[in-house]
């Protein structure tokens, strides 16, 4: 149980198996590594003289399980393919964008840049360590792309080439446009205000020396010159938005804004030309500047790169194996066309929707359906892209590729959900819309009324009404709070996928854990083994290790630590959820659950003990060896459970595991509400029962078969090790240790409070300011300052959410040595 006493891998920091003897030499000292993959990567890094990587990294590297063969990338050397992914530029260079897996901290970026910089053919590599996107520019004549991709893969960062299209580039352009507009409005505002101050002082100077009329006219002219690009370039989006609103016959927020900017600017230009009357260039520039800041913050909130989403886009393989007659060749996925025939090897992902040509196949569609049950397919059945081939290699005829596939459709739905404005922001928008209608009516009434009272002041007062009541504070109140909160929890190790869920976080009464992979480390190990004596122990271990080596189930990893060589097997078959079988030296062996391995449904033969879950190795005559598997508790699990209980939350444990295993965990953690042997439907029913009795449920699952259950809970949190689609379906994804859960709840409460304060302030301010402005007590410049101050107050209030309260994170000593910090999303600011 004591994790810290264990030897951990120098590269990936996972426990080193007891019989593993591999070491790497660092500064003359041997350091243990856990497997051949990690050894290879560590040596690659050390041989390149880059041992600083291990000094600077703030998160441990991913365990290197297996590398794609170099031939996997060969398809990216064909010119037709390259032109598609990386167009040739005038200087003979090509540029490609890559999504890299397992970029965890700045040191990863450093490592990649250092190793690739050694290559003279590479002229530039830029890596964003936050979202794992890299842009690589290289000399296509000097080095092949396949070499570069294979090199990145060898370093442990599996690359996914991206094609140069998509919304992301649009968002990046939009961001640049915003920055330029803000700069022009901001600099223009400063200049014009300076002249305005000079003119105000000149106007009130009674010493007789007052401002020279020539200078006075000159300053107004210069102000006009500077305010013109501010109005026509920086404020263009408001005019466009207002025009769109008008043509759609609705009262959007842009309408009064555009009227105010347009009218104030037009009047100021007219007065400048006439040489008398007020000018409002300063107020206009300031108004545009603060409005743009607000829009920019909101834009950032919407376009935050959700790591979960991009990971899913990368879940399909980059290349496929194409079958043409009797020959096969590698082809990039993007080149795949309808009616081509592809081969999908065991354990690989189906690259496109298609029709099965073989007689039968076994697939895992958990990425699509959330069910980890193996699905049997017959010849002619439709296979969906994203499914994993669990059986023998299969061939399929492609029917739909790329954006037409089922997976792509689901991805788009999720992207749409992510890109949409949060529900509370939409509500504020709707209120703002009514508000705008009222403001327009009131402004007209004010104008008409003042035409009778004092026609000279009518224009100025109407302008003040329009500016002072700009509902930007109302529109900013929610998005800024949500963006800031998203950034704050990202630093604690939680990604917000669905920001609507912040609303619900505060009211959570029940926290439901799914045992596998949430409270435990998800890496079972063998804690007991009993040999029946039919075969010698070493033979049994070799057989067990050999059979499990072919499996892709998490339990199988435990067997890789057995102190024996792998026995060679032929005719291996995996039955998902039950076990493996295979032929060795003319005998059929099975390993798995007792019911499967012993072909014995009545459980007449019982395991040698009651504790833990037992796996049995058997031949046709009976059991040969028993293995008890145990999954270690996460070191921080107890502190988190107690922390939740102290907050007055009911903690539940629903698990598919056996009674003995579940109750042992529950007892250790002090959880009293326990259910075992739960199917997904049972879990869903249990959640419904809690909800019917008035509770609000936060469900924590590891993905795989939890996707529908996660959907049923009020708030769902997925572990980052789970299936990618389930992650995207969840409201939050936990990337750090479990302690982030308490931080998430704390932030949820604070966020809700800030949103309420903001909405109350915005509404209150407008209710007070409107009558004052209509009464003629507010000059346009005061209105612009008032509106800006109101927006600023709302924004600053939201920025308070940034504070990470370190004293409230219990158990932060546990798990990885350094947590948080490196997973910083671009927050508001």
């Amino acid at each position: 149980m004591n994790a810290s006493a264990q030897v951990r891998c120098y590269h990936c920091n996972e426990p080193v198996p007891p019989n593993e003897k591999r070491v790497v030499t660092v500064d003359g000292n041997p350091r243990p590594v856990c497997c051949a993959g990690c050894e290879a990567v560590a040596n690659l890094i050390l041989d390149a003289g880059l041992k600083d990587f291990y000094r600077f990294r703030s998160e441990t590297s991913a365990k290197v399980d297996k590398l794609a063969p170099e031939s996997h990338w060969l398809a990216f050397d064909e010119n037709a393919v390259l032109d598609n992914y990386a167009p040739l530029d005038a200087e003979g260079f090509r540029e490609i964008r890559l999504q890299l897996d397992d970029i965890r901290c700045a040191a990863c970026g450093w490592l990649i840049e250092q190793t690739l910089a050694d290559d003279n053919a590479i002229c530039d590599i830029q890596l964003n360590v936050v979202n794992g996107r890299a842009t690589l520019r290289w000399d296509a004549n000097a080095v092949r792309l396949s070499e570069l991709l294979a090199h990145l893969d060898r370093l442990g960062f599996h690359p996914h080439p991206l094609r140069p299209d998509d919304n992301e580039q649009q968002a990046s352009h939009e961001r640049r446009r915003y920055l330029k507009r803000i700069a022009i409005a901001g600099l223009g505002m400063m200049q014009v205000m300076m002249y305005a101050v000079a003119m105000y002082i000149g106007a009130i100077d009674t010493s007789g020396e007052g401002m020279d009329t020539g200078v006075w006219h000159f300053l107004r002219g210069v102000s006009l010159l500077i305010a013109t690009p501010v109005v026509f370039y920086a404020a263009a989006p408001f005019f466009k938005g207002a025009w769109r609103d008008v043509t759609h016959r609705r009262a959007g927020m842009d309408v009064p804004v555009a009227i105010a900017i347009g009218a104030a600017y037009a009047a100021s230009v007219w007065h400048t030309l006439l040489g008398r009357g007020e000018v409002y260039f300063d107020s206009v520039s300031m108004f545009v500047f603060f409005l743009l800041i607000g829009r920019f913050l909101e834009f950032n909130a919407r376009h935050q790169v959700a790591a979960a989403g991009s990971a899913m886009a990368a879940s399909l393989p980059a290349t496929v194996t194409l079958k043409e007659g009797n020959t096969t060749r590698s082809l990039p996925l993007a080149q795949l066309a309808k009616d081509q025939v592809v081969i999908v090897s065991q354990g690989s992902v189906v690259p496109a929707d298609g029709e099965l040509l073989d007689a039968a196949a076994a697939l895992d569609e958990s990425l699509l359906t959330g069910e980890s049950q193996t699905v049997r397919k017959r010849a002619g059945d439709l296979l969906a892209a994203g499914a994993v081939n669990h059986g023998k290699p299969l061939t399929l005829r492609v029917t739909r590729t790329g954006r037409d596939t089922l997976l792509s459709g689901i991805t788009r739905l999720l992207e749409k959900a992510q890109a949409s404005r949060p529900r509370m922001a939409r509500m504020a928008d709707r209120i703002a819309q009514y508000f705008v209608g009222i403001v327009l009516v009131l402004a007209s009434i004010t104008f008409i009324a003042w035409e009778f009272l004092d026609p000279a002041r009518a224009f100025e007062i109407t302008l003040a009404v329009l500016v002072v009541t700009c509902p930007c504070a109302l529109a900013l109140a929610v998005p800024v709070a949500l963006t800031t909160a998203t950034g704050a929890i990202a630093r604690e190790g939680v990604l917000a996928v669905n920001t609507d869920a912040f609303e619900v976080l505060d009211g959570v009464t029940d926290v439901v854990f799914d045992k596998t992979g949430t409270l435990t480390e998800g890496q079972p190990h063998i804690c007991r083994r009993v040999v029946t004596g039919v075969l010698p122990e070493s033979t049994c271990l070799a057989l067990a290790r050999g059979l499990e080596a072919a499996a892709n189930h998490p339990l199988a990893r435990a067997f890789a630590t057995l102190d024996a060589d792998e026995a060679a097997f032929t005719d291996i078959e995996q039955v998902a959820g039950h076990g493996m079988s295979g032929m060795h030296e003319g005998h059929r062996y099975r390993i798995g659950t007792p019911a499967y391995a012993l072909q014995d449904d009545n459980a007449a033969i019982t395991p040698p003990g009651m504790d833990g879950s037992w796996i049995v190795l058997a031949d046709d005559d009976g059991p040969l060896a028993w293995f008890a598997l145990e999954d270690r508790l996460r070191p921080e699990a107890r502190a988190v459970v107690h922390g939740l209980q102290r907050r007055g939350l009911r903690v539940h444990l629903l698990s598919g595991d056996s009674e003995a295993a579940v109750t042992a965990v529950a007892k250790e953690l002090g959880i009293s509400n326990v259910a075992f042997r739960q199917q997904p439907q049972d879990k869903l029913d249990a959640i419904r029962r809690i909800q019917e009795s008035g509770g609000r449920v936060m469900m924590l699952g590891d993905g795989l078969n939890d996707a529908p259950v996660l959907g049923g809970a009020d708030v769902s949190v997925a572990m980052s090790r789970g299936a990618t689609l389930a992650q995207a379906g969840a409201d939050f994804v936990l990337t750090g240790p479990l302690t982030a859960l308490t931080a998430l709840l704390r932030h949820g409460m604070k966020t809700r409070r800030v949103i309420r304060q903001n909405l109350a302030w915005a509404a209150g301010y407008n209710l007070v300011a409107l009558p004052l402005a209509a009464a003629g007590l507010v000059a346009p410049w005061m209105a612009a300052i008032g509106m800006s101050a109101s927006s600023l107050l709302v924004t600053l209030n939201a920025l308070r959410l940034r504070q990470v309260n370190a004293s409230n994170t219990p158990g932060s000593h546990a798990g990885k040595q350094v947590q948080g910090q490196s997973r910083v999303l671009p927050g508001a600011g």
Binding site: A106, A107, S172, R176, A183, Q191, F218
Partner: protein
């Protein structure tokens, strides 16, 4: 006070230059990634361009 007729156009010119430089920087992608460069200062390394030229030199 006539000096303002020279100084103010001068300041406007400077403003235009500043805006021009900023727009160049934005278009050049200087503001695209605000997070990674902050990390890079933690790593001491030789200047990339020079070291590459030296390496090329060494190979010849």
């Amino acid at each position: 006070m006539e000096i303002v007729f020279v100084l103010i156009p001068l300041s406007v010119l400077l403003l235009a230059i500043a805006v021009g430089i900023f727009i160049w920087a934005v278009n050049n992608g200087q503001f695209d990634d605000m997070d990674s460069p902050a990390w890079k200062i933690l790593v001491d390394e030789e200047k990339r361009d020079r070291s590459r030229k030296e390496r090329q030199h060494d190979q010849r």
